[in-house]
Point group: C2
Chain length 211, copies 2
Amino acid sequence: MAAPEVRPRGARLPRSARRTQLLGAAREVFVAQGYHAAAMDEIAERAGVSKPVLYQHFPSKRDLYLALLEQHTDELVDATRGALASTTDNKQRVAATMEAFYAFIDSESESFRLVFESDFTNDPEVRDLLERMQRGCAEAIAEVIEEDTGLPATEAQLLAVGLTGISHVTARWWIQAGRPVPREAAAALVAHLSWRGIGGFPKAEGKAGQP
Amino acid sequence: MAAPEVRPRGARLPRSARRTQLLGAAREVFVAQGYHAAAMDEIAERAGVSKPVLYQHFPSKRDLYLALLEQHTDELVDATRGALASTTDNKQRVAATMEAFYAFIDSESESFRLVFESDFTNDPEVRDLLERMQRGCAEAIAEVIEEDTGLPATEAQLLAVGLTGISHVTARWWIQAGRPVPREAAAALVAHLSWRGIGGFPKAEGKAGQP
DNA sequence: CCGGACGGTTACCGGCGGGTAGGATCCCGA
DNA sequence: TCGGGATCCTACCCGCCGGTAACCGTCCGG
């Protein structure tokens, strides 16, 4: 691939600039290799720097990973909140949220892999961050559901989680299958599924369905 | 916890019995710790046996994990196929499939964690197994969708994946939240969501929704 | 009584990779 | 010109764990 392999060595950088650059290199490596297979040496090399420099900015591999992860989970929660607030028509809300979700997953950096394909979920803090993220997204959605349907909180939460599940799983499938349809089409189809259900699709002939 | 810690040492077993027992011990450890944190020593100890015995049955940690994983992915695909074949009414098909999915996840052994929370997805063969599993489930569902709606294969596949996504994500949430509602209720609610969509739930007052 | 197959054990190796000690360089203000 | 405080490097340590070599007891057929 023509990815920005190893950056030129030798250039000195002010502390904060170096830090963000290291985060970028770490993201690339963690996304490509996962937490366990990623080596600190490799992250350092990718950034054009030696390992101790990395440790001057982050106390441990784990902390580096957590910093990165938090950044991206926050991003998704914000995107979800934004999409929900963009309209008051619920059907459009669903569409907007799906679109936001697909946009998040479709980013060049593939950073969604950190969030949805983490291989460090054994760590309690990682679990906690991911759980928080899901709560953040689901509660925002559940609030709307609860308000508009009068369902009990638990049920609303379950439905909300279901909606995030649709987007999450279909979006990853869509990427992994090589984006077989345009992003907007996929998001729209999935939004339709979410809004009308699978029973809401037209029947071909006299097959079974609703009476 | 009162989990069956370490089994009594000293008993000799015929080869095949030992093998299945080792698989059981491995499942317990992998489920509790994940692939990376699990040590071969611990699996052996859990089975009341020494490490070389483990290696007389499985050539490597990776192979052991793969054997275990394949077993459980097959299980889920079969359950899905069974549920789809249990009726010809599509609405009931959805309900049955959800119920099957929830049953799979609600097993005592928590073996679903191997499948849905694997920390070894970096491995190509693991990826392949999981991908196969999703294809297996999704294609079975997509076949029905395609046949009944006349949608193109890709679209049907996307919808099918969406339905698996609902079950997968809600079921895990339901477990993680401490099973806040009975399993049948959760499965039924989620089946309703899948069939009618979020737009199919009753409105509380004069709020936005379908016109 | 004997040999060998089978199931099991202890004790060890080796490398990978996270983390660190100690020193070299360079910029900048006095 | 001369500290001194950044920034960065080479070189190393060491613990963990997957995997193995070599050996032991026991049962069974001849």
